[in-house]
């Protein structure tokens, strides 16, 4: 598995499949009464957030805690650390010195996770960087679509709204096209990158004609400040042309899904009465997000290089714990290769 997750570009089709399959197991863990497995016990995950975010941070925090990792939250403000004279690199080296195993980073500035990964030994997971990428959002969206349709191959996904400023759109387009889905980008030309047509997607500004073709309509959040940047005249006009209302929902195929990365602007991207439809799976996306993020942390930090559970327990002088049977299926094929004895010997030497 990859060491850092910075961009959907890094993942092969097989690796994406592996993440989605592993997430299946963690979905099951999430349904138990005791939603915790000990695979990352003793390891530390740092959530480094330079941009306010509750949903993504909590999702990562829950994912790490379900793996028994220790989680610390570092909420920073890039402007204030610059004002103090500390560079982003200094912050990175501070975390490096604290010996964290993984850094989940959210940043207002595109490329910040990539730079961070060049300065630290820890695994870096991009939790959204400027308008660049949000790969874990794309993976949870792939998971959610695959779950409903059984495949991603040939699924037609319309991404609607502000693609120019959307890291969700960039990561999703890369992931969806890689997995064989077809993407149609829809929005006012002011919110569509000029070179979008060269990304392997169809481009349209007319939502009504696109809707009947879609298996999934994926609505992007519209930031209110775009109005003051002259990208559209008013939110009302945006809603008139690109908002999903009852009439437009009826243009969709009966089995078509509605998705949104959250949080939604009711009355803008989707009219309020439509946002409670069963086919609008925003809540499922949130649930799946924890499972996908747990799968990533597990695959990136866990695996054969970590000492076995028994070895750690023996080292602490405690009796080995019997693993519940339900856990066995989760770790099939990914058992630590280092035996307890060999590992202990290594530590003593």
């Amino acid at each position: 598995m990859i060491k850092h997750l910075l961009s959907m570009d890094q993942l092969s089709v097989d690796q994406i499949e592996l993440v989605l399959r592993t997430a299946d197991s963690f979905r099951e863990v999430g349904k138990r009464t005791i939603k915790k497995v000990p695979v990352l016990r003793g390891r530390t995950v740092c959530n480094l957030f330079y941009e306010p975010s509750t949903r993504t941070r909590i999702s990562f925090e829950l994912a790490a805690k379900r793996l028994s990792a220790d989680v610390i939250n570092f909420v920073a403000d890039s402007k204030s650390s610059v004002a103090k004279g500390e560079s982003f690199k200094d912050t990175a080296l501070t975390l490096q010195a604290m010996g964290v195993d993984a850094i989940v980073v959210r940043h207002t500035s595109a490329g910040a996770p990539k730079r961070l990964s060049q300065w630290v030994d820890a695994s870096v997971l991009n939790a959204g960087d400027g308008a660049n990428e949000h790969p874990t959002q794309a993976l949870l969206d792939l998971y959610s679509i695959r779950e409903r349709f059984g495949t991603l191959e040939g699924v037609r996904v319309g991404i609607v709204g502000d693609l120019s400023h959307s890291r969700v759109a960039r990561s999703n387009i890369k992931g969806l096209t890689k997995m064989g889905a077809q993407v149609i980008a829809v929005g006012p030309p002011t919110l569509l990158p000029l070179t979008l047509a060269s990304w392997g997607v169809e481009v349209s500004s007319e939502l009504d004609s696109v809707l009947p073709k879609l298996d999934v309509v994926y609505l992007l959040r519209v930031q209110r400040e775009r109005q003051s940047e002259q990208l559209f005249p008013t939110l009302r006009e945006y809603a008139t042309f690109w908002g999903l209302d009852r009439r437009r929902v009826e243009l969709l195929k009966p089995e078509a899904l509605i998705m949104h990365p959250g949080p939604i602007n009711r009355g803008v991207e989707i009219s309020s009465d439509m946002s409670d439809l069963a086919r609008f799976i925003i809540a499922e996306q949130v649930t799946n997000g924890i499972a996908v993020r747990a799968a990533l942390l597990y695959l990136m930090l866990g695996g054969p290089q970590i000492p076995s559970e028994d070895a750690l327990v023996n080292l602490a002088g405690e009796a080995p714990e019997r693993r519940p049977d339900s856990q066995q299926s989760l770790f099939e094929g990914v058992e630590p290769s280092v035996s307890a004895g060999a590992h202990l010997g290594g530590l003593r030497g």
Binding site: S78, K79, V82, G85, E86, S87, F88, K89, D90, H107, T108, S109, A110, G111, A112, K114, R115, D129, G130, A131, N132, E133, S164, H165, R167, R170, P193, L194, T195, L196, S198, W199
Partner: protein, 440 residues
């Protein structure tokens, strides 16, 4: 002053069209003799067989940061870097703190540089007070000062107000000086991080469209035509700009233009690294723009190669991309980059590259004793080995800053000797100076 005989070098003097193996003798600050097998009596002889001897380079566009940001560069460190790069004259941009918008700052910079005796520093004056774009600066006082300011610019940004720029051009014309513009229509470029195109779209970085430069340049050319000022387009970076300049020259507008080594060699694809070392303004453009700048250089549309040497503190370049300041240093790599990438790719010949680095900008700036190697003329010259391989090591730079996009690159061409005002200021690649307080 040194009495030196450079023996056996290839003299390339574009001003006179010379390209021949010729000995060059200097004494008392001037070139006393040129010719084959000169007598060595009374001279220190330096054998330079295989090397090129040519006029010292003239850089129309350098940021020395003093006064104000002496942590990034000083007149001393910048002059030392220039000498190591083979430069004997350079224009220092006015965006210092305080701004060079008055005679006192201009004279301070010029006299501090003159005391060092490493390179001629010509302070450029601001067009507007404090570079604020509101009120015309004391252009006459700067022009008439001991610093003899002859180029005015608000570099770092363009003058946005067209009426103000028109008046400034007319006023500058009255002092027979140059109006130089950083062409940028700010309403189109604001908050931009890199060239707008495929890579900015993919990376999610806000783009600066080529049109931001071309619209500003079109306006400037129209006003230059109207006013008749000597206009200089700084760091031209787009195919459209090269076309505009080509057409304006054909129509007889008094106009010169410069291009930087990085806009002749690097593209916006570099930004995929998200390394702010590649963040510069104007931004690195597309491969097509690089090609157009090269064609403009080859067909005479562009008159000079200038570095836009822009030192920045390490911590500022190690910030997040969007917070890092734009700019890259170039004085100590310009020759090697041009020899390797531009002459090496057959864009221009070696004598033509030397002309673009020396004779041509010296002529634009009307510099006496620069840009030529003639008997009886001032001894400002450079000796370089065009074949020597160098691996760029910013830690070894004389510049106080390290923000070079060429770090670690293997390039060809190394400055061996620089002679400024008859003194050997660089010997075997390193600066030597007898000025008190200047480290040898």
């Amino acid at each position: 002053m040194d009495r030196v005989l450079f023996r056996g070098g290839r003299l390339i003097d574009p001003a006179s069209g010379t390209d021949a193996t010729t000995d060059v003798a200097i004494a008392d600050g001037v070139v006393v003799d040129l010719g084959p097998r000169l007598s060595s009596s009374g001279f220190d002889v330096i054998e330079i067989e295989g090397a090129v001897i040519c006029p010292g380079f003239v850089d129309m566009h350098v940021h020395l940061r003093e006064p104000g940001r002496e942590d990034e560069e000083t007149i001393l460190s910048g002059s030392t870097a220039a000498a190591r790069g083979g430069f004997t004259a350079m224009c220092a941009m006015p965006n210092t703190d305080p701004v060079c918008d008055n005679a006192a700052v201009a004279e301070k910079v010029a006299s501090a540089a003159a005391r060092l005796g490493l390179v001629q520093v010509l302070p450029a004056g601001a067009i507007t007070q404090g570079l604020q774009g509101n009120q015309i600066a004391a252009i006459g006082e700067m022009a008439a000062s001991a610093a003899g300011v002859r180029l005015f610019t608000d570099d770092g940004k363009g003058v946005q107000d067209s009426r103000l720029l028109r008046r400034a051009m007319e006023y500058i014309k009255g002092f027979d000086a140059i109006c130089a513009e950083h062409c940028e229509e700010v309403s189109l470029s604001e908050d931009g991080q890199m060239h707008e195109g495929y890579f900015s779209d993919i990376l999610g970085l806000k783009g600066i469209p080529a049109e931001a430069e071309e619209i500003a340049l079109s306006r400037d050319l129209a006003l230059a035509r109207l006013t008749g000022v000597r206009f200089h387009a700084m760091h031209v970076s787009t195919a459209g700009s090269v076309d505009l300049i080509r057409r304006a020259k054909a129509q007889g507008v008094r106009l010169t233009a410069e291009v930087t080594p990085h806009h002749l060699t690097l593209t916006d694809a570099e930004l995929q690294s998200f390394d702010p070392i590649f963040k510069v303004n104007p931004p690195l453009r597309t491969a097509g723009d690089v090609e157009a700048c090269r064609r403009g250089l080859a067909d005479g549309t562009i008159d000079a190669i200038a570095t836009d040497h822009a030192p920045h503190a390490q911590q500022e370049k190690e910030a997040e991309f969007e917070l890092a300041p734009p700019g890259m240093i170039g004085l100590e790599t310009a020759l090697s980059v041009i020899l390797t990438e531009v002459v090496g790719d057959g864009v221009v010949s070696l004598p033509e590259a030397i002309r673009l680095l020396s004779a041509s900008p010296a002529r634009t700036l009307r510099l006496q004793g620069q840009g030529e190697v003639v008997q009886g003329g001032a001894a400002n010259l450079t000796v370089f080995d065009p074949e020597a391989e160098v691996i760029v090591d910013p830690a070894a730079f004389a510049s106080r800053s390290r923000n070079s996009p060429w770090a670690g690159r293997r390039l060809k061409g190394k400055v061996l000797y620089t002679v400024f005002a008859g003194n050997l200021v660089v010997r075997e690649g390193e600066v030597v100076s007898r000025v008190a307080g200047v480290p040898a």
